[in-house]
Symmetry: D2
Subunit: 385 residues, 4 copies
Amino acid sequence: MAMKNELIQLFQETRINSLQICKHLAIEDYGLQPVEFVSPPKWHLGHTTWFFEAFFLSRKEGYTEYHPDFSFVFNSYYESLGQKILRSERGNLSRPTVQNVLEYRKYVDEHVANYLQEKELTDKEIKIIETGIHHEKQHQELLYTDIKYSLGTQALKPIYDEKFKETIQQEPLQWLSVEKGLYSVGHADEGFCYDNETPQHQVYLNDFFISSRLVSNAEYIEFIEDGGYQNVLLWHAEAWDWLQNNNISFPLYWQKEEGEYYSYQLSGYQQIEAHSPVTHISYYEAFAFAQWKKMRLPTEFEWEVACKKFNYGARWEWTESAYQPYPGYQKAEGALGEYNGKFMVNQKVLRGHSIVTSPQHSRPTYRNFFHPHLRWQFTGIRLAK
Amino acid sequence: MAMKNELIQLFQETRINSLQICKHLAIEDYGLQPVEFVSPPKWHLGHTTWFFEAFFLSRKEGYTEYHPDFSFVFNSYYESLGQKILRSERGNLSRPTVQNVLEYRKYVDEHVANYLQEKELTDKEIKIIETGIHHEKQHQELLYTDIKYSLGTQALKPIYDEKFKETIQQEPLQWLSVEKGLYSVGHADEGFCYDNETPQHQVYLNDFFISSRLVSNAEYIEFIEDGGYQNVLLWHAEAWDWLQNNNISFPLYWQKEEGEYYSYQLSGYQQIEAHSPVTHISYYEAFAFAQWKKMRLPTEFEWEVACKKFNYGARWEWTESAYQPYPGYQKAEGALGEYNGKFMVNQKVLRGHSIVTSPQHSRPTYRNFFHPHLRWQFTGIRLAK
Amino acid sequence: MAMKNELIQLFQETRINSLQICKHLAIEDYGLQPVEFVSPPKWHLGHTTWFFEAFFLSRKEGYTEYHPDFSFVFNSYYESLGQKILRSERGNLSRPTVQNVLEYRKYVDEHVANYLQEKELTDKEIKIIETGIHHEKQHQELLYTDIKYSLGTQALKPIYDEKFKETIQQEPLQWLSVEKGLYSVGHADEGFCYDNETPQHQVYLNDFFISSRLVSNAEYIEFIEDGGYQNVLLWHAEAWDWLQNNNISFPLYWQKEEGEYYSYQLSGYQQIEAHSPVTHISYYEAFAFAQWKKMRLPTEFEWEVACKKFNYGARWEWTESAYQPYPGYQKAEGALGEYNGKFMVNQKVLRGHSIVTSPQHSRPTYRNFFHPHLRWQFTGIRLAK
Amino acid sequence: MAMKNELIQLFQETRINSLQICKHLAIEDYGLQPVEFVSPPKWHLGHTTWFFEAFFLSRKEGYTEYHPDFSFVFNSYYESLGQKILRSERGNLSRPTVQNVLEYRKYVDEHVANYLQEKELTDKEIKIIETGIHHEKQHQELLYTDIKYSLGTQALKPIYDEKFKETIQQEPLQWLSVEKGLYSVGHADEGFCYDNETPQHQVYLNDFFISSRLVSNAEYIEFIEDGGYQNVLLWHAEAWDWLQNNNISFPLYWQKEEGEYYSYQLSGYQQIEAHSPVTHISYYEAFAFAQWKKMRLPTEFEWEVACKKFNYGARWEWTESAYQPYPGYQKAEGALGEYNGKFMVNQKVLRGHSIVTSPQHSRPTYRNFFHPHLRWQFTGIRLAK
């Protein structure tokens, strides 16, 4: 019983938290989609609600869908659950309005809460609700990063929240050593995890050193000023094309004015803080920086084995590891099987979490993943050698 | 004095009317830009305001710009007036909010009205205010067509105004004849006109017949059902590529369901009315239809010479004429010279006006122009032979 | 009978001439297609042959097609004559080899010549042979311009023919005047013409002046050095985008090295000759130059009426006229009707001819047409005012 | 001395072999580049020659470059060695002609051979010559695959060599088992290897089974006919988009006619042989096939450990492993460092070799790599479980 009450409480807190993140927004901000990889806040609010409707409520007898077209509008990428609008069209929907979406949330929340309170839950039902909660926590992080992109790339650079602090104090650098040997990696305990963290398995690691802190803005500025963005030998071939085609010579949101570096942050446009970790860099930039330092990025397993020795959580940390299935990986049956497995190509693993990751939504075994050129997450660099 | 009062009244009516058109919208609708050629309603409201600020108020001593960034945001295509946001970015601006833009309108309206009331106006000043008014009337038509596009292409196809009637009753077809000879075309009287309507000049026309009414939906459905969209010999080469690349086999907004034709209209999605003029067709489609009928479109001069013999104003009427300067055409000096002349290539002239054209914003000499593939205006077909 | 012998002789001369043009080429040159609008020399040789096969021989009893796949390979744009390779694929065909194509030419030439010699010819047959001959003469010009493009854009800039002289001496400038009035334009005499030159009809022209010679390289260099390519007010809106997107600041084939202007010519890369006509400019550039001079381009009818007063034939001369059907224009029935009419949109008329136009392939009424941004023809500028 | 003679002999055999591969071609075939990832045979012949010139001869005193522009033309991707033509432009070069390139080869061959015979060679020099030889062997494989693509996608589907046999007999399927444990992988012996095969290191593997033979055409046809290409749950998200955008429902070169499967092979267009290995499939297809079989692809290390138990060499075998650096990997200094390391992102490793791989150009540790959607190599599928 305790557990059931905890589940209900976690459900309700999570649902409220998504609304808290949006409370700084104007109605007009809810519909923005300046690039395809960003979704409008309104869409996140609707999609996370649809997730509970599609995977849970709609399978219960007697449940009436809130609106017949919402599945079309709020499905993200579950190809097996029917037609859906093109991802690039999300920003072109003025309807449902923000008010409608809030009502949709209320309707679904009440139905889920009632069901949870009134019924015996099967293990499978608990699993689905848990997945829905964790899914929403992932979208809470995307709410922050998508809002930052949508506001920060506008002409007027509007402030999200003056009090939102992105910078972080870091301790002096130490090199932490790990000895070669066989290690267990992957998730094993009772708590929630995604399928991509399993099964636990053994890997052999060589001796290595890993940095106790992230690369700072000051260090990254050295790289810039040493011509790092112009030295082809530091970059992957695809990275070099990406730099040229997009005219890139700074991290995302950065500008240089009269010799000083500035960036857009959620609290507004401001000067770069030298000692805070460099942020909003792609894997390509992380790799090139490491090359320039004559070091390298850790693999995801080196990171996982070493992570108890250092503080993390300021920025998602790019690793050298491609996102691939663990030995013996089994994806879930049916539509939920589309959650992770189908993205296991052409992406890089990031470990840790960031200041906009939901609390409770991080584990030493957690595997985040993005294409190597993407930068709108709060990403950073930890070096190894 | 009378004239000055009229100018003030016209200014104020025009400014109010733009707001009237928008009163059916939700806040969320004001920011939509589903394709590059459509602009958000909010942008139209801001841009028409900026026009008065940039070309009139900002040249007056003592005037303080409402906001330093609004010129960047609300300039449309005046390359000579400084930097501006990319056209495709208009939909990515949540700020200024709708409320801000309404305040901006109020600020500019008051300053213009005060100036008009208090000062002696030069001819040049009157000309600029008149141009600003006519410019805004053009944007009022774009408000209708852009709103239609932005709502009508959404998944939920929201209604703009249930009472808005697009269909038109037409009288039976008659063939009106015009005799060959030399005719004067172009604008000559005292009233307002654009530079592209001048100078008046002579053209020689052969004998021709022109239809007393527009092609109806029923006639166009015959063309569709006779395989018109599949018969390559009816189409221009570029038209044929356009059909194939965009999978086009109907006018814009049309769908066929179980043998019946439907379309989105400002009053909602509904069945096609057989006798109303076919609407939302490109020049390419108008031309192919005429070929299929073994007739042709009139030239813009045939249209102008014949127009007093028939009713027009339901739809903009595609002509066979390319948009080119009249003999002796002089474009205005400076930024206003960018208004018309720089578009005189690769476009076709449309004559008349449509049900969403602002009253007073039409003349027999008025030359509208669009690229031959565009369809989101209220366009129609009048045949000649 | 005389006439029939003349036809046979004209046929044979024309067929031989195409081969003469190619005699300077290496085998490797025959297959080049560096951009979609250019075709490989081998393709021109095959296509002009296919034209006689498809429109003439294949309609004769007892004729055996040379190769069942050649229609697929050598059809250009006759949508009504069956499937064809994509235009952009012409350069990807190494087979048929050059040798095969020469044999194909021989086979078709013999069959046509035999038929012409042995049979009574109907008027329609004569018309088709004539059209085929004129069609091939058009392709002879394209052979020159496509070869120039294909060689001149290569890294090694190979010479086509050292003796080929592109430059032209011009006499001093005079302004020739034409009086206003009604004039007849279009083709009327017995000789061959294309359907787009008919019917002859009347146009009214205002008084105008037209230049006795073309704009020279020296004059155009003045325009360049006065910042013509950077002054937005001189350009059409689409022209301005074209300049920016393609980084254009010179005519095609030009380069500036240490203050001097050079260009690739068929006789090799060399310094610009100041007094020769500027060449390889687009309509957009011709228009902008005229704006800068505070003059204009003539219309095609002004040109046609005035042309007996000046020398022409060095360069195709851009006119201000869009390519449109004449009043009463009827396109030919069937596939031949695809020859001209279907291109009558979004193109500009050029008049006269150029140094690479086939002899006998020009008339005062001849209407050439190209999209306004294209420059690989030998185009030039004649001013009017 | 023996070793030096062997090196000279290997150099000469290798150089001759490239010409042998091309002896079936017409001159016109040497210049083909139908898609960007394919290079013309002439370019391969020039580029492999340039490699010896740029990395070896040009660093010797007294050597005169064959032609000042050939470096621009024949450099492939060595950004640090100066300007080069765009990859997509290789097919637009008719000059140098085939004859010129053969003379270039002769010139360089003589200079290299003379140097090798006359001088004491340093270890570094031997290493460079060896690398040049292995580099040319890689291009010999590309000659086959690029020629196949360039001929097989033409309208006339010309035969390369009637006697060239692509099909392979395979023995019945057995499942070979490997026990879990720590294994050494990577290159360690004295022979030549690329930097990406080093350093040798330890990996831990679980128990697994691997198939003794490749998946056959008959098995793959079952997958096709069971709707494999239409079942979204079998595919990666990016693979699904790739299928839709490119209309893919067969391996490359396949067509279905009246219920039978055909493909283009180097000996011509012909019916599929049921028992031969399926070929020209992408990683995406290999993965989806394995999903459908409820099995998986081996990792590159499973493959390397197991490979002595089975026959390989008919087709390159896709593995599940992303192409990444080995622990402790050091790329070579300078331009040669661009050889492998800069491609270590977004690609998948293939192991083994294929029927068009040069003899001596395969090792159990050899790591080939391609983007997951590419199919023009002779690729195949070996299953694991």
